[in-house]
Symmetry: C2
Subunit: 215 residues, 2 copies
């Protein structure tokens, strides 16, 4: 599959690296066509890896992963272009983190809205699925870093899109349990969970942690 | 132990009933001395059960459980009286739920503060421990309703108070895993988790659910 990964940080490079390793054609998108981190990533990730602007990447991808900083996601997606997102699955991995007051970060959306909802509203023809934002980048592509069974979530208005993302989470990344939480507004739950996740990280002194829902 | 349970709803009556069943002296507090639900509860819960105003109950209890509606908790605790809470462990089980816009509820605190912090700030001489607010009332007193191992959390500024609440959660209520998340500000995490919990309830169609932290 041709995959666009928007964002050059830890989440973007980890997911892009995993997809390339699995044999997919991956284009990493950044604000600037000559982003040094994207260049370095593309050079190291093999012949099927490339990089470009957000628009270059989004136009290339059959599926798009938003791995940009949450505070910059709407701008990055505007730069990617609504026409390059139309009809495509847009997996929103970002969190609405506000580091302006230091650590721990606050959330700039939540409770009555979510970053995922803002993205879906701004790009109504994209098929937004919130996923993977509840775990650390290393855990996203290697659920086995956390012992035993733990869970990830999908939220979105498009059932077929959630089904396809669920398949990818299971078959490509190895997640055993993918919980469909409902429509895109359920991302309020998974984004607000970050406030608990940050405290759990502080308690257990490792970002390699996750939750398993028991019922 | 002499225990005050403030609040006559599902959470208050469930916890009060369990403590009475365990042989403790329990006084249920309500706004009015003649609250019919508190009267009925006290009548059914045996000779060691009693009821009264919030102040009656708080004065009686060696430990106080805040099981009032989150929106009314500060008023209820003011009625209970700072002098009746001074030096005592105050277990805050309430959630900052705002039902004014229907279901699902929103939170009226979170992200940059929490109900538990507001309570600790308003009653600086109470030893506030946030606990049990992440599970349904029936599960609070019967963790086995959820299959396998799942977790509850304690948050608070007073380590000895958290230790005593942890002991009660384990020895009286049967919780196997009690995670100390840190100071009272970590209640932002457990209160905001409600937004995820509500969606999980919707997905699994049962309130008998919980999470297990894996790390």
């Amino acid at each position: 599959m041709k995959i666009a990964v928007l964002g050059t940080g830890m989440v973007g490079s980890t997911l892009a690296g995993k997809f390339a390793e699995l044999g997919h054609e991956v284009r990493m998108g950044a604000r600037d066509a000559k982003n040094p981190k994207a260049e370095a990533w593309a050079k190291s990730a093999g012949p099927k890896a490339s990089h470009g602007t957000f628009a270059d990447a989004a136009a290339f991808g059959e599926m798009v992963f938003n791995c940009t900083n949450g505070a910059g996601s709407l701008d990055a997606l505007s730069a990617a272009g609504a026409e390059n997102l139309r009809g495509k699955i847009l997996v929103d991995v970002a969190n609405p983190l506000d580091f302006s007051r230091g650590m721990p970060p606050f959330l700039f959306a939540g409770n009555t809205d979510s970053l995922a909802e803002r993205i879906q509203e701004a790009f109504p023809q994209a098929r937004v699925v919130k996923a993977l934002n509840t775990v650390n980048a290393s855990v996203m592509v290697n659920p086995g870093l956390v012992p035993g069974v733990s869970d990830v979530f999908v939220c979105g208005n498009d059932a077929a899109a959630k089904g396809e993302v669920t398949r990818i989470l299971k078959e490509w990344l190895g997640w055993q349990v993918v919980v469909d939480l409902g429509d895109i507004s359920s991302a309020r739950g998974t984004e607000s969970y970050l406030l608990l996740w940050l405290r759990l990280w502080g308690t257990f002194q490792t970002p390699h942690l996750n939750i398993h829902v028991v019922h």
